[in-house]
Symmetry: C2
């Protein structure tokens, strides 16, 4: 690996940690270069701007998440479990709980919004393929698959990525998901085991 790439990766990881723990807005370039032990000029040799760094950090996060999703899709488990597994994995977004919380604080709106939007674009095609398999197996019954998956992904994201949802939210989500995909009522009740509400 070339030296430049190595440094870039180092900065990416340092920035990732700082962005997550204190927010993008509250992390200064000075702090990042202090953490890396380099000078201002060096930073701007590798990145055009702080915003470009943010985009790069987000892309890195998305790569990791998509990898995780691919793992689940390749596993020998039933179709519905695959679908929900990916939804739940992409709900987690990061490995640590404290990090997840940080991602929802006001100062992290930008990061959260950007990751959310981008990850949807990546994951919808993957889940659409899974849904197609489900239809072939007779588990689901619907057309307009990508649009329906889009709806399910949006709901999972908006309903569950913050804390503050109830068990009723989960039940209704399951019901709507089943009806959206044309799955038999109750067939996806197992989702409840993946997500835990506040009450």
């Amino acid at each position: 690996m070339k030296k430049g790439e190595k440094r870039k990766l180092e900065l990416l990881n340092i920035a990732y940690r700082m962005f997550i723990s204190k927010g993008y807005e509250n992390t200064s370039v000075d702090e990042i270069i202090a953490g890396a032990g380099i000078a201002k000029g060096t930073f701007y040799y590798h990145f055009e701007s702080k915003k470009e760094l943010l985009e790069a950090v987000i892309d890195m996060m998305l790569d990791r998440e998509e990898e995780e999703a691919q793992k689940i899709l390749g596993a020998p488990i039933p179709i519905p479990q695959k679908l929900v597994g990916v939804l739940a994995s992409f709900r987690l977004e990061t490995d640590e709980e404290s990090i997840r919380d940080a991602l929802h604080e006001p100062e992290n709106i930008i990061m959260h919004e950007k990751t959310g939007r981008k990850i949807r674009e990546r994951i919808i095609p993957l889940l659409s393929e899974v849904a197609r398999q489900g239809i072939n197996e007779g588990l689901f019954s619907c057309d307009d698959i990508p649009e329906r998956i889009k709806i399910i992904v949006i709901l999972a994201n908006e309903l569950f990525d913050r804390n503050g949802f109830s068990s009723t939210d989960i039940r209704v989500f399951i019901d709507v998901t089943e009806k959206t995909l044309g799955a038999p009522a109750g067939s996806m009740g197992f989702i409840e085991d993946f997500i835990k509400g506040d009450d």
Copy 2:
């Protein structure tokens, strides 16, 4: 009206226009006070911070939107039309098309996210009441009304508040809405006249 309140309102309106047209981040306090013809100190006499100003601007926008929603709810029209009318009105968010576009540009993520979240909280109770009436009239059939309304509001917001949705998105949304509320299939097809997709 007291002089202080008048000035505050003036600042609110100036800031509103600037935030919308160039984004919150790209609007400096210096520009706002130049627009109002006042000094820095005066601004900070009326507002504690730029963030507080943003919150005030957003609250002002929400008041206007909720007023609009109340108008629709008070009109002598069928229940489903009320429901959709409110969804569509809160989709518009502002009177001018150019302003709507601005609200979705990257620099306005913060404003958009904050307005979206707050307006949901305000509108869900209103629409839940409408849905209850619909059930009494035998048009809908479901329980967990607020949770189901929440889902519909989230979908309407996330699917349609940006450009870039298709007529298939609309058709699927109608289908999911009907099934979510337990309405007869096709009974809400009129929604298509409210929203126009890209294709």
